[in-house]
Every structure is written in structure tokens, then in C-alpha cells.
């Protein structure tokens, strides 16, 4: 098994010491930053797939995600030097008036694992803050979460405000317990993620057509 294959395996197992050691070994061997990154993402993709198939739980995925984070800490200077950026940047938050954040946190974790740049604005986020963050970070995706029926109007207002801001190529994906595809259609959101497990796929599809 090559070092990069071993690195992928270490991520799958969530072994962060091993992931760090192998990343450093690959760097020392002058392996390209892109190749190392691809090995890490391949590990997380597998973890995401097993999570989606209900083979593992969030804590196991979180352990893998932490291993990837440690490895990325070593790799990041090389990525910057090589001009390699995250696949794209996403801004995520729970809409104004709503404090629920577990679903939003899970989506953020899934997106980070897929090597999206993620700016997490937290909960109770007003529309203008989403717009400012999307503009500041050159985001291509905004993720909005709501758990209450009474904050669904705030979601609609945020989507409308984001569309009116005319940020180039920006796509908006929404989710949360009371949210449906028909609500997404009604308020003009570009995508709807029914759960955290599907959020990566939904985001990738949206950005691919952006």
C-alpha cells in the first residue's frame, strides 16, 4: 500500500496521529500537495458514504473529520504556496429568530470533510450578515437552516435578500425539519437538502451548474 493509500485509510479509521505522520511523510517525499489533498478527501468521501449508508454514526465521522483537520494543518502551507484553494467556499447559518444549530453543524462538518471552505455564522443570523459574509469570502454557496415553522418566513426573507444582492454565481441551499422541496421552490432557493448526509451531494450538484 502506498503512503497516500495508507493516508486515505488513516482518515477512514479516524486515526489522527497516523494521518499526521503519513501526511508529513508524503510532504517529506515531495509528493504534490494536490495528490495529498486528494488522498485525504478520498478518505472523507468514504466516511461520508458509510455515514450515508448508516454504517457509522456522527461521532465516528467527527473523529475522521478531526484526523483530516490535523493533516490539513500540515498541508495548508503547501496548498497556499501551490495556489490550491478549497473546491469552493460556503457560508452557513441558522436564520434569524432560530437558535437550533445541530443540523447546521452537521452540514458544516460534512462540507468541510468534502474540502469546501466553510464560514459558519452560527445561529439567529440576519439576512444582511449572510450577504456580507458571502461577499467578503467570495462564497459560491449559502446554506440556511431553520427548525421552527415561525422562522420559515425569515428563511424566505433571507433567500429574497440574497437574490436581490445579485452575488455572482451564488447558490442558496436550505434545510431543517419543517423545510420541504416545495417550500424551497416557493421561496426561490436553488436547492434543498433533506438531511445532513445528502448535503454534500446537493451542494456539489448546485455548484457544478453554477
Amino acid at each position: 500500500m502506498t503512503v497516500l493509500e495508507q493516508l486515505t485509510e488513516a482518515i477512514k479509521k479516524g486515526n489522527r496521529n497516523e494521518a499526521k505522520r503519513l501526511t508529513q511523510e508524503a510532504i517529506n517525499a515531495s509528493t504534490g500537495a494536490r495528490q495529498i489533498l486528494d488522498a485525504l478527501v478520498a478518505g472523507m468521501d468514504d466516511v461520508g458514504r458509510r455515514f450515508q449508508c448508516y454504517e457509522i454514526f456522527v461521532p465516528e465521522m467527527l473523529i475522521a473529520s478531526r484526523a483530516m483537520k490535523e493533516a490539513m494543518g500540515l498541508l495548508e502551507p503547501l496548498l497556499v504556496k501551490a495556489g490550491i484553494k478549497p473546491a469552493f467556499t460556503a457560508v452557513i447559518g441558522t436564520v434569524q429568530g432560530d437558535l437550533h444549530d445541530i443540523g447546521k453543524n452537521l452540514v458544516a462538518m460534512m462540507w468541510k470533510g468534502a474540502n469546501f471552505g466553510v464560514v459558519d455564522l452560527g445561529t439567529n443570523v440576519p439576512a444582511e450578515k449572510f450577504i456580507a459574509a458571502a461577499r467578503q469570502h467570495g462564497a459560491t454557496l449559502v446554506g440556511l437552516s431553520a427548525l421552527l415553522t415561525t422562522t420559515m418566513p425569515a428563511m424566505k426573507q433571507t433567500v429574497t435578500a440574497l437574490k436581490e444582492a445579485k452575488l455572482q454565481g451564488l447558490k442558496v441551499v436550505i434545510g431543517g425539519a419543517p423545510i420541504t422541496q416545495s417550500f424551497a421552490n416557493e421561496i426561490g432557493a436553488d436547492g434543498f437538502a433533506p438531511d445532513a448526509a445528502s448535503a454534500v451531494e446537493v451542494a456539489r450538484k448546485l455548484v457544478a451548474v453554477a
Binding site: 453543524n105 421552527l148 420559515m152
Partner: protein, 459 residues
């Protein structure tokens, strides 16, 4: 001194629906826990904004909900009805809005009594809005003051029972669930949570006394039910969620130590354990709360209930009528069966209870920890522990032992991926120090302390 150093109910056959050692009498003459199970209806707004401009519409919506539900209830003649008004956050942030809704509900309930003789009691559950600040300011500030104003105002407007779904400790608990970290769960529930509960419920008791109403109880909804919903979505282990439920009883118990008298809040699935400890009546919700959230506890939840709730339903039109009207009917029929069994005597009640328990307990660990026998085992572990920290550890280890026993005896089905979690949890709890202050010293280095105000938790 801890008022609960021994159990109020020690025999599993005495831990059953409709009967509590310390029943609660209401102004209208309902005796909750006195041999009858009462329906407890809760409803909420459909998709709409709550602002000063929309408040007339909000009040009209609540008026429609309560009038429709009471009208149907009067036709079905239940022995009484509990109505719960769980405010939406703006109604606690602007106390007058919550008070206005309370008045609408209380007036309609008085009207139904005058016209139809329908006895009812109103439970008000203002939001714990302290978490609107991040990190939450738990012991002062406008949000806290408005919470207290809402409680007092709702009491004056006709709410006889006060409850809350408090959030102290949630700052750490959410991440602990995602990480599957039982030590952080115990820190959040049994150290942060219990300390906040003591502060909160001491103050709520003063409000209740000042306004001549009762403190009913709290719930670990934001903790145990978050775990349950995550487990239901296959995001975390069901075994882990079951153990969280057992530990959560330590936190919810503090409300009763501070003067709450039941009925415990409906979404507190830890209530069977609390009923065994305190002897106070408890609200429960199960199959008839699927309108609000799914659960693996549909039948077993009723096994020890004194009021039977639907948790919450939006005011939407169903084929049978508006949803709150449909749900009051469902609850009343659920209660009729339980009350028919109670009327036949203890043996019939125990037979029905056995079916409720048997139909769920073998299929999910979260149901399994709530059988009357297991609830009493966990309750015993809690009351014999010297402090809340030790109680949390004891509850966790007892729950793991009961689940292992159930699985080994073939009485509990567990998916293969669940099994390693029993060892993970047990090993993690057994690694914890005996001493609370030593544990706090360790855990404060592991949790994200930027997410909470340590001094508000006396840390």
C-alpha cells in the same frame, strides 16, 4: 439537604399510569395522578410571523385553535383537560404578547366550563430565551427579566401550572452528543445543568408563590430529546441516547427539589424515573405526539403517565378538521382506554400497562430504560448517590448494565453497530474521577469554554 434520598415508589407495579402517591388538585377540581389520566393538548401557530403588526392575527389563530378543540372536547366529555400553551420565542421576549395569548386561552376555557361544565387547567411554558445571547447570560439581563415577567403575567392571566424547557448546559451538550462523549454529557447535565436548574427553579418558585400558582416541572427536552431525534435519524447511537435519557433525570429532578409538584412536562421522557423518585404526577407523550416528532417510545411512554399529551401540533387543516381539534379527539380516546382499565381495577391497569411496555421495550434501548422496573433501578441509583455528579455516573452505569442484561437475556434487540457503544460508554464513565472538583478541573480543559459563561455555572 436533598429531599429525595429515597424513592416514593419502590415496586414497579406501583409505577403506573393515572396513579401517583402525591396527586395534584387543580382549582377546577381535577386531581392529576388521582386515578384518572387526563388529555393534555398543546398546539402552535402555522407558518406565520409574530410581530406587533401580526399579533391580532396571532390571537385570532389561538382563539380559533382553542375554541375548536374545546368544542370537540365538550362533545366527547373527558373528565377534564389540560391545555398547554408553549410560547414561541417572541412571546417571551415581549411578555405582553405571551400574556395576551394566555388570556385568550384562559377565557375560552372558562367559557367552556360555564357552558358545558368542561373542567380544564392551563399550563404555561414560556421559552428559555436566555440562549438568544451567545454565550448565554444565564442569571441576569433583559432576556432573563422578560422570562420572569412572562411567567408572572401568564400566571395572572389564568395559567395555573408553570413549566419551562430550560437550556442550562446545552452549550456543551449539543457538541457532546455529536462527539459521542459521555463525560461531557455528564458535565453538561449533572454539573452545568443542575446548577442552572437550582438557580432557575428557585426563582420560578418565588414567581409561582407570588402569583398563587404551581410550579409543574421541567424537561431535558433540549438534551434527551435532541439525542433521541438524532438517534432516530441514525446520526448517533440509540444506546448512547438511552444512557443520556437516564442521566438527564438527574438534571430534571432539581425542579422538584426546588418546589415543583408536577405534572412534569410532557416531553420529559425521563419522567417515569422522576415519578418513582418524587411521587408527583407526570405528563408524557408518545404515539399521539408523532405530529411533532418521531420516537421509539410510542406506547411505553403512556405506561406511567398522569396526563397524556400530543407535544405540539400546528394549526393546519386536516381531513377531520383543524389539527388541534383532531388531536384533542385522539388524546381523549387514548385516555378513555387507560381510564377504562383504571376503573376496572389494579389488575386491568397492570394488564394494559404490560402491553404498553411489552410492545416497545424489546425493540429500542431508549424504550427499554423506561420500563417500570428499569426506571426504578435508575431512580435508585440516582437517590443513593451522594451528589449530582455521582448520580449522573451511577445513572449511566445502571442504564448500561440494564441494557446489557436485556440484550443478553434476548429481551432487547440491538443492531450490531450499537454493541460497541456499551463498552465505549462504560469505559468512559469508569475513567472519570470519584471527585467532582477533580472532574471539573479535567473537563474544563476539554470543552469549548468560549460557549458558556463559566461564572453563571459557578465554575
Amino acid at each position: 439537604m436533598n429531599p429525595y434520598s429515597e424513592l416514593a415508589i419502590t415496586d414497579p407495579n406501583d409505577l403506573r399510569f393515572g396513579v401517583s402517591p402525591k396527586p395534584l388538585k387543580t382549582r377546577r377540581g381535577m386531581t392529576i395522578g388521582g386515578g384518572i389520566v387526563y388529555p393534555e393538548l398543546n398546539f402552535t401557530l402555522p407558518n406565520m410571523e409574530i410581530t406587533a403588526a401580526t399579533m391580532p392575527d396571532v390571537l385570532a389563530e389561538y382563539r380559533q385553535m382553542i375554541t375548536g378543540a374545546l368544542s370537540r372536547a365538550a362533545e366527547l366529555e373527558p373528565p377534564g383537560l389540560v391545555v398547554e400553551f408553549e410560547t414561541l420565542p417572541p412571546m417571551t421576549q415581549v411578555p405582553q404578547w405571551g400574556i395576551d395569548v394566555t388570556k385568550v386561552l384562559a377565557d375560552a376555557m372558562e367559557d367552556a366550563y360555564a357552558k358545558h361544565g368542561l373542567k380544564s387547567v392551563l399550563r404555561a411554558t414560556p421559552n428559555d430565551t436566555r440562549e438568544f445571547e451567545r454565550p448565554p447570560i444565564m442569571r441576569s439581563g433583559v432576556l432573563w427579566e422578560n422570562m420572569l415577567k412572562t411567567f408572572g403575567g401568564c400566571a395572572d392571566a389564568g395559567a395555573e401550572l408553570l413549566s419551562i424547557e430550560s437550556v442550562g448546559g446545552k452549550e456543551v451538550h449539543d457538541e457532546a452528543l455529536q462527539a459521542g462523549d459521555i463525560q461531557q454529557v455528564i458535565f453538561a447535565l449533572c454539573i452545568m445543568g443542575t446548577r442552572d436548574m437550582k438557580f432557575l427553579w428557585t426563582n420560578l418558585k418565588k414567581v409561582a408563590d407570588r402569583h398563587g400558582v404551581k410550579c409543574a416541572g421541567d424537561t431535558a427536552c433540549g438534551f434527551g430529546n435532541t439525542a433521541m431525534v438524532l438517534a432516530e435519524q441514525k446520526l448517533i447511537s440509540r444506546v448512547f441516547a438511552a444512557v443520556v435519557r437516564a442521566i438527564s433525570a438527574v438534571r430534571s429532578l432539581v425542579a422538584y427539589e426546588c418546589g415543583a409538584v408536577g405534572p412534569g412536562k410532557d416531553c420529559g421522557y425521563e419522567n417515569p424515573i422522576l415519578k418513582a423518585i418524587t411521587g408527583f404526577p407526570m405528563a408524557m407523550e408518545g404515539k399521539t405526539a408523532a405530529c411533532a416528532h418521531l420516537s421509539p417510545l410510542g406506547n411505553i411512554a403512556a405506561a406511567t403517565c398522569d396526563t397524556w399529551s400530543n407535544e405540539s401540533v400546528q394549526n393546519v387543516k386536516l381531513l377531520g378538521g383543524m389539527a388541534p381539534t383532531c388531536y384533542v379527539e385522539q388524546l381523549i380516546y387514548d385516555c378513555r382506554i387507560m381510564n377504562a382499565a383504571l376503573a376496572e381495577g389494579r389488575d386491568s391497569a397492570l394488564t394494559l400497562q404490560r402491553w404498553m411496555v411489552k410492545s416497545d421495550a424489546g425493540l429500542d434501548p431508549q424504550a427499554n430504560v423506561l420500563t417500570p422496573f428499569n426506571s426504578i433501578e435508575i431512580a435508585k441509583a440516582i437517590v443513593t448517590a451522594p451528589d449530582n455528579y455521582a448520580a449522573g455516573k451511577a445513572a449511566a452505569l445502571t442504564a448500561v448494565r440494564l441494557l446489557r442484561d436485556g440484550y443478553a437475556a434476548g429481551n432487547l434487540k440491538l443492531a450490531p453497530r450499537e454493541i460497541p457503544w456499551l463498552d465505549t460508554i462504560q469505559n468512559s464513565v469508569e475513567e472519570m474521577p470519584d471527585n467532582e472538583s477533580k472532574f471539573i478541573g479535567q473537563i474544563m480543559g476539554a470543552v469549548d469554554t468560549s460557549k458558556f459563561v463559566a461564572k453563571d455555572y459557578l465554575l
